[in-house]
């Protein structure tokens, strides 16, 4: 029963990894930009939530009403005024600039908030559980986190395939020049995609900060988890990304069960095995 418990926790954590991954994969899909600062932006969202909850006395989940639009705004401005200037035929400039941004964010947060680890207090919901049997009980918070991850993935899927904005995203990804002929400004589309990516990051950041301690240096590891979930699931498939996050979460849970020191290693090993055996991931996008 212990194992069932561990694996269930792993699945639920997978939802968080899928949230890290969804924003990453959206940006790569629309503009072929690999955002190295993605994980640090997750941590930035966590600290913004810390400031908002402590100064306004809001609980963390309510603070999302402020953090999500704020991060979206930051994302739009970041893309419009900085990252759009780096895009071109060469993949290197956006990589270098987002890498630089990652360094700036880590050190900036360290300067302002010190390297001490922090946590958001969500109150009673943190310890509330749903008891399924005498051996298996699920935390309400991890369940909520997983439900939100599924809702975000489903929402992004609907947006991509059922709305005018989704069409603009996909068309811009196909052909940046020709979209201008149908009235679309690719610079605006890129900025909207980044805004959306950072809105998802905001949710991920707040859940991360409620679930565990966070500090300014933990961004890069979140970036890696996001990458791994995307690759395991298969590039360009959002439900695959959720599955990738779950596989990663479960692998880490099983590793930790065997030996606590093996938690991260087990996740990376599963990622490497998938990369070696199925480099296109489990659910690559099918061309219709």
């Amino acid at each position: 029963m212990d194992w069932v418990n561990s694996i269930t926790q792993g699945i639920l954590v997978g939802g968080l990894y899928a949230m890290f991954a969804a924003g990453l994969s959206l940006i790569f899909g629309v503009m072929r930009l690999v955002n190295i600062a993605h994980g640090d932006l997750v941590v930035l969202a966590a600290y913004l939530a810390l400031v908002v909850t402590t100064t306004l006395g809001l609980d963390p989940l309510t603070s999302l009403l402020i953090i999500v639009p704020l991060m979206a705004l930051i994302g739009y401005a970041l893309q419009r005024f900085l990252l759009n200037r780096t895009l071109g035929d060469d993949l290197l400039p956006p990589l270098l600039v987002t890498f630089g941004l990652s360094v700036i964010l880590q050190n900036g947060l360290m300067e302002i908030f010190t390297p001490d680890s922090r946590k958001l207090q969500a109150g009673a919901i943190e310890t509330a559980t749903l008891t399924l049997s005498s051996d298996l009980s699920l935390g309400i918070l991890p369940l909520l986190q997983f439900g939100v991850a599924v809702a975000i993935i489903g929402g992004l899927q609907l947006l991509s395939y059922r709305t005018a904005w989704g069409r603009a995203f996909r068309a811009t990804s196909d052909d940046q020049t020709t979209v201008q002929l149908v009235g679309v400004d690719p610079r605006h589309v890129f900025a909207m995609a980044m805004a959306l990516s950072l809105a998802v990051i905001a949710v991920a950041g707040v859940f991360l900060a409620v679930r565990a301690n966070f500090d300014p240096s933990m961004g890069p590891a979140r970036l890696i988890f996001g990458f791994e979930a995307v690759i395991i699931g298969g590039l360009g498939n959002l439900w695959g990304t959720l599955a990738g996050g779950v596989i990663l979460g479960v692998a880490q849970a099983i590793g930790a069960k065997i030996d606590p020191g093996w938690q991260l290693l087990a996740g990376h090993l599963v990622f490497l095995i998938v990369l070696a055996v199925r480099p296109e991931g489990f659910f690559p996008r099918v061309q219709h």
Binding site: A164, R167, A168, R170, A171, S173, D174, D175, T177, T178, V179, Q180, L181, V182, G183, V184, D185, Q287, H288
Partner: protein
């Protein structure tokens, strides 16, 4: 005489350092069909791209409905009523046929063209509407490209080599639909290598050679000899 809808005067266009157009002047009246012919590399596509806003130009080198539009980006010009059917069709490959048409109408002006009207013009597209645009034949893809441009309800439609790579029977079929497109007073510029087709479909014709206008005249009365010498130089 009324002001023309489009007026190009002494236009010079560049691809990087390479000058593709020299001192090009032409006009298109409201509701008129104008053909631009010329050999490969004569600058026809460059001219259309410049008018559509994909290539920068001196502001007053191009005026549309009385306002200077040289250098205005393409996504703004679409809203003002200039749409381009690009050479090689350039459909969005991850969008279905219907989505390609829908995105064409996303920033539409008011006008007669709608999804329904495009399907009436090209009924085969209705049958294929949920298919990937890349799964269509060349002729059907060209219909999607034309339909996508029409969805924006342009005042001026620019067609770049719509016969390129298509069987003659398909080309004839597409050209037979042109009167239905211009029927509501839309102006049209067609760029063609197929001179006979171009002359048949247009009221006036310009011939470009090495980036310069070498001939201008009424399509029905212009002589073969004049075209031959304008086309190839003499």
């Amino acid at each position: 005489m009324r002001d023309p809808l489009l007026n190009v005067s002494q236009l010079a266009s560049f691809y990087g350092d390479f000058q593709a157009l020299f001192d090009v002047s032409l006009r298109v009246d409201e509701g008129e069909v104008v053909a631009i012919i010329g050999a490969n590399g004569a600058g026809k596509s460059t001219l259309l791209k410049t008018i559509a806003g994909l290539i920068a130009a001196r502001p007053d080198a191009v005026t549309f409905a009385g306002s200077p539009i040289g250098g205005v980006p393409a996504h703004h010009l679409l809203r003002q009523g200039i749409a381009l059917v690009p050479e090689g069709r350039r459909l969005f490959s991850s969008l279905s046929v219907e989505e390609n048409l829908q995105i064409g109408g996303a920033y539409s002006r008011k006008g007669p063209w709608s999804l329904e009207r495009v399907y009436q013009l090209f009924p085969i597209l209705r049958e294929r509407r949920h298919q990937a645009s890349t799964s269509l034949s060349g002729g059907q893809q060209q219909m999607v490209a034309i339909g996508r441009a029409l969805m924006s309800n342009p005042r001026l439609l620019l067609c770049d080599e719509i016969s390129l790579g298509l069987a003659p029977i398909i080309v004839r079929e597409i050209y037979e639909r042109l009167p239905q497109i211009t029927g509501d007073g839309m102006s049209l510029i067609i760029v063609e290598q197929d001179v006979v087709q171009a002359l048949k479909a247009s009221r006036r014709v310009y011939c470009l050679q090495e980036g310069r206008v070498t001939l201008e005249g009424e399509s029905q009365s212009i002589s073969r000899e004049a075209i031959a010498s304008a086309y190839f130089g003499s």
